[in-house]
Amino acid sequence: MSAEIPYITKPRPDTGLTNGKLGMWLFLASEVMLFGALFSAYVLLRVGAEEGAWPLGSDILNVPIGAVNTIVLITSSVSMVMAWASLKMEQPGRARVYLAVTLALAVLFLVVKVGWEYRPKLHHYTVWLVDGTSMDGHLDGAVDAAADHIMFVPDAEGDEHPEAMQISREQIKRISNFGPSHDNYLGIYWTMTGLHGLHVIGGVIAIAWFLVPGMALFRKDPEMYTNRIEYVGLYWHFVDLVWIFLFPIIYLL
């Protein structure tokens, strides 16, 4: 005797929900607490910072790139809901196209984030000197651990093209790239966008599975497949929602 799990495609009579839908919403509720904790940490770090110590987001981050990535994620949300709608209209071919578009946009988001945002930050440095001043710029060549100095190219201002300058080790109080240890602002930036990026990767894996090997389920049970696309869609829209708040808070304020 085999027992079938109930309420996979037919809803429970009392709640009107299928197991998967309730399960996904409960998971998203936990995700609200996860990201909410980090937003709360951001608020506390910011209000606790000394006057003038918290930078303006647009001074550190590239706003056009952040705006482009916002449009990319919003578009991927649209293509995701269109994939589900196509399945409900019994157009699986069109649904595959929309799923592929969603996947491509998700990968584009990650490529832009890692290639145009994360990578440049790891090569951009701040040098704090013992006299209390600081400079932003790039290291000129590899740093020799045995050398008593570094070669540093400060960031250009206006039409300047600064030359590399030598800074002796004795003058340096601290040197850091624009990674998470740079300061609290970049610490919270890397943590929140990094966690969001991991969620995008999770979405990429799920969507790719449904696009390729998971398609076998559509042939076997189209209603179950359609419902699962809806649940993945809920997760994907949530990832978009988090970015909708992250972008203005981190990049613009």
């Binding site: 607490m33 808070i249 304020l253």
Partner: protein, 104 residues
């Protein structure tokens, strides 16, 4: 929406595109609003209001919350309550310290 038929879904396609257009416009408005010469608290308030409107559009129409069941609303109400608690408690400790710093 889970059990809507093909014809009902077809009627929603134009709605999805309208929401898409609105989200694009609101993204441009978000960036433009950040250039307004206002105080930081007011800038934060404006940014959060626009973000909340965008979030409402995504949640209501893409996530179908506008036609969802009461059980889901119940889950979300409890979630929002505890999210606000999590946001407010650390701020209360910070404000308390702020008061102490002024008194001593």
């Amino acid at each position: 929406m889970e059990h809507a038929g093909p014809e009902e879904i077809r009627k929603h396609l134009r709605l999805y595109m309208t929401v898409f257009g609105s989200l694009g416009v609101l993204t441009v408005v978000t960036v433009a609003a950040s250039w307004l010469p206002v105080s930081v608290p007011l800038a934060i308030l404006i940014a959060l209001m626009i973000a909340s409107l965008k979030a409402f559009l995504v949640a209501a129409f893409f996530m179908h919350l506008v036609s969802e069941r009461a059980a889901i609303y119940g889950v979300l109400i409890v979630t929002v309550f505890f999210f606000l608690v999590m946001l407010i408690i650390p701020l209360m400790t910070h404000l308390g310290q702020h008061v102490l710093d002024h008194v001593t």
